[in-house]
């Protein structure tokens, strides 16, 4: 089957996110964009990536994309199915998981994540979001965290309305002060480019733009004065193999 070489910004984002995962590492996978990217990585360069879902499936090998984190296929293809208390106490808390893979409703300069409420008043929110789920402790305890989220001024804000999951708090030293044992977010992948925390300031900095995206366009879609790395690169475009594998996951019937 030939692959249509034209790709979308969402496809570029998912492929860039998948490339960030290393084979044979253990990855705690949130549903949605992270799950798509993690499953794509397993189908491309990281066939032995260990997928851990918070429903208690260790080493799931789904042959299609699950709709939820607890689909039966995840249990049937797992190395082990464990209880939810065990997931958090035995596996996540002691730092056994290499990468936590999260998304966000809001994210700020220091990669703090909000999935709780939009609006300043917690008790009278503009929008009530689903809440924390596993994210606070995933962000705290995984060895590192990767965030994948579509970019807009509404999502990328100077300060999140509610800190659900801590990135770098208010800046350098905060993670250590809070006793958070993982490194924190090492990369934020969007549909426009890739941001990474500056090693001195911890502030998210633009390190790559996706093909065809200008730095101005990234800046227009972010809610703070974004720093740009002097070593800014352009992401390699999706390969035919990557696009074929991704579409096999998201559109197995080939409707596209």
């Amino acid at each position: 089957m030939t692959v249509d070489p034209a790709w979308s910004a969402d496809e570029m984002m998912t492929i860039a996110a998948a490339r960030s995962l290393t084979d044979r590492s253990a990855c705690f996978v949130g549903i949605g964009l992270p799950s798509t990217a993690a499953n794509l990585a397993r189908r491309t360069h990281a066939p032995d990536l260990v997928l851990v879902y918070e429903s208690g499936t260790l080493g799931s090998k789904p042959d299609r994309l699950p709709l939820s984190i607890g689909d039966g296929m995840l249990a049937e293809t797992a190395d082990a199915v464990i209880s939810v208390p065990e997931v958090f106490s035995y596996w996540l808390q002691p730092g056994r998981i290499d990468v936590g893979f999260l998304s966000a409703a809001q994210i700020d300069r220091y990669a703090n994540i909000n999935t709780t409420v939009i609006g300043a008043d917690y008790h009278n929110p503009k929008v009530r979001l689903p809440g924390a789920g596993g994210a606070p402790e995933i962000a705290a305890s995984c060895r590192e965290v990767i965030v994948v989220v579509r970019q807009s001024k509404r999502t990328f804000v100077e300060r999140v309305d509610f800190v659900t999951s801590v990135g770098y708090g208010r800046g350098p030293g905060d993670r250590e002060r809070l006793g958070l044992r993982g490194r924190g977010p090492v990369r934020v992948i969007t549909d426009l480019g890739i941001l990474e925390p500056n090693s001195a300031t911890c502030a998210l900095t633009l390190v790559a733009v996706h093909p065809g995206v200008s730095v101005d366009r990234v800046r227009e879609n972010i809610g703070w004065d974004l720093a740009v790395s002097p070593h800014l690169t352009t992401t390699s475009p999706p390969t035919e193999a990557e696009l074929g594998a991704l579409r096999g996951l998201t559109d197995p019937e080939g409707v596209r």
Binding site: G32, I69, G70, E76, Q93, A135, P136, F162, V163, V166
Partner: protein, 273 residues
């Protein structure tokens, strides 16, 4: 020893107005039929506990059964937000909803403490999050051995826990397998428990990785085939993903939802408000 009852009897005997109730299930084996029977019987002022309140909790909240929700993630898995839950939090419809919000790690620890008969659970959690400021049941404790400051959360001890399982024997011993979530802890932390099952059998043959709840820790068992639909029961039926997607438009609008309540559950229009 568990009593074998009908679903109607089980809810009538075990779930009372004002009770604290946990209907647990982590995507799999969600006790939908039991939750809808609670709506039919018109229970009010419930405090509901659940790690992942989803569509059945949206229905209970929209039907006006719930005063307070203790939870860690409230959404329609794989689809989006819960609109009845949102409407209750943002607009107090049909009745105001108090919330007590945790993370999964914290809720799981609270169930373990409840099942263990302990006054608190300890974990590394919540540090630096705004949950600490808004949730009174998140505190700290100092380790007596190392001096390290850790997070403490109190147990949950529901008046009644309701779960769905694949099967039980005639004495009421329950067996469930696949993704088992926090159901064992939810039953063991509760004062009373009701388990709905796909089938009651003469003998429970062993299943790898199964959770077994002996008859003497379960209050009642009701045979309710399909009682977890539209979630799934591994070995019996698959998740009806379309039903979860269909819930989104039904629940967005108060009138559509109220009509759904009337048509599907026989709740007279106007009851919720």
């Amino acid at each position: 020893m568990a009593e074998i009852v009908s679903l109607r009897e089980g809810i009538a005997e075990l779930v009372h107005d004002g009770d604290t109730v946990a209907l647990e299930g982590f995507t799999h084996l969600i006790p939908f039929a039991a939750g809808q029977e609670i709506i039919r019987q018109g229970r009010r002022d419930l405090t509901l506990i659940r790690m992942t309140p989803d569509v059945i909790y949206d229905q209970l909240i929209g039907a006006g059964c719930v005063r307070k929700l203790v939870f860690s993630w409230g959404g329609n898995p794989g689809v989006g937000s819960l609109h009845r839950f949102r409407d209750a939090v943002q607009n107090g419809w049909p009745v105001p909803l108090e919330i007590e919000e945790h993370s999964h790690a914290g809720m799981a620890a609270r169930y373990v403490a409840g099942a263990s008969g302990l006054p608190f659970a300890v974990l590394r959690g919540y540090a630096g999050t705004d949950l600490v400021e808004h949730t009174a049941t998140i505190r700290t404790v100092t380790c007596p051995f190392t001096g390290e400051v850790l997070t403490a959360v109190p147990p949950v001890n529901p008046d009644v826990t309701v779960i769905h399982a694949q099967r039980a024997d005639r004495r009421g011993t329950v067996q469930l397998w696949g993704i088992s979530g926090v159901q064992k802890e939810a039953v063991l932390s509760a004062r009373r428990s009701l388990v709905t099952v796909e089938e009651i059998v003469d003998e429970l043959t062993p299943v790898p990785g199964a959770v077994v709840l002996p008859s003497w820790v379960v209050s009642a068992v009701a045979e309710v085939p399909g009682g977890a639909k539209p979630s799934y029961a591994q070995g019996y039926y698959d998740r009806d993903n379309a039903a979860y997607q269909d819930w989104d438009p039904i629940s967005r609008d108060r009138d559509t939802f109220t009509r759904w309540l009337a048509e599907r559950l026989g709740v007279p229009v106007g009851i919720p408000s």
